[in-house]
């Protein structure tokens, strides 16, 4: 049992550190990029990578099924609504910009 707990702790340390790193990098990207469309991509690092890793790290430390379920619920909700609001934002910003010629590939 001892080994298992140490493994769990190490894994959640890794997840939380990677998640924090991605969050800071995404914020740096939002600050650093030029132009709205490039910043949109930097924000999606925060919304997918950082969020998933941090919530996964917290899930490993939950220790109670109800807390685990709540975290999973928050994760699932952000997983669905994050892209939806990004899409709505891009779609609203498209009105200010000319569309490319239509050629599918």
């Amino acid at each position: 049992m001892e080994i298992f707990e140490i493994l769990l702790n190490v894994l959640s340390w890794i997840f939380v550190l990677v998640g924090s790193f991605l969050m800071v990098l995404g914020a740096i990207g939002i600050l650093r990029f030029h132009g709205f469309w490039a910043r949109l991509h930097a924000a999606s690092v925060i919304e997918s990578g950082g969020m998933i890793f941090l919530l996964a790290g917290m899930c490993l430390q939950a220790g109670d099924f109800l807390i685990f379920f709540k975290l999973a619920f928050i994760g699932l909700f952000l997983f669905i609504t994050g892209p939806t609001s990004t899409h709505a934002l891009a779609s609203a910003a498209l009105l200010d910009r000319s569309k490319p010629k239509k050629e599918s590939n």
């Binding site: 650093r32 690092v45 891009a90």
Partner: protein, 159 residues
């Protein structure tokens, strides 16, 4: 009737798992709100007949989800490289991508997956085409998108 039983089970399960207080009064409140919600949803259905069909294979969807997590990790690394190098030499491009999904839910999953992987964003859906904005466009990106398209078409229930 099958839908009512299914939504009753899911809603009550969500209530029980989120509340964590198992007293008679609280569970009665939960039952009351679940029944009220189902009543409202049924009543709304009388006004607009638009039904959202969820025709996907569940187990294949789980497999796709795991594959998508791997793709998200890969494209996160690409975008982090771009963030660290700065955006002087990136090639932003907007292009149309053809979809092969038959149902609306398949298109929604495809567009959401495109947005979830950093580096590409679905801007709008026009009929059978998705307008995609790419941060650092390379010709190999199109192959990745085509594979994602193929996998999503695969999890749809074929008619």
């Amino acid at each position: 009737m099958k839908n009512v039983i299914l939504s009753f089970t899911i809603l009550l399960g969500t209530w029980l798992l989120l509340s964590g207080v198992y007293k008679t009064l609280i569970i009665a409140f939960g039952l009351f709100s679940v029944i009220l919600t189902i009543f409202f949803v049924r009543r709304m259905d009388k006004f607009d007949r638009y039904q959202v069909k969820f025709d996907i294979r569940f187990f294949k969807f789980i497999g796709y989800f795991i594959w998508l997590l791997g793709e998200i990790a890969k494209s996160n690394i690409q975008v982090i490289k771009t963030i660290l190098q700065g955006d002087k030499n990136i090639n932003q491009k907007m292009f149309y991508k053809k979809t092969t999904q038959a149902s609306d839910i398949g298109k929604v999953i495809f567009a959401n997956s495109i947005t979830l992987t950093p580096g590409t964003i679905s801007v709008s859906i026009e009929g059978g085409d998705i307008l995609v904005h790419s941060l650092n466009f390379k010709e190999t990106d199109l192959d990745g998108l085509s594979e994602m398209d193929k996998r999503i078409t695969n999890i749809e229930v074929s008619k």
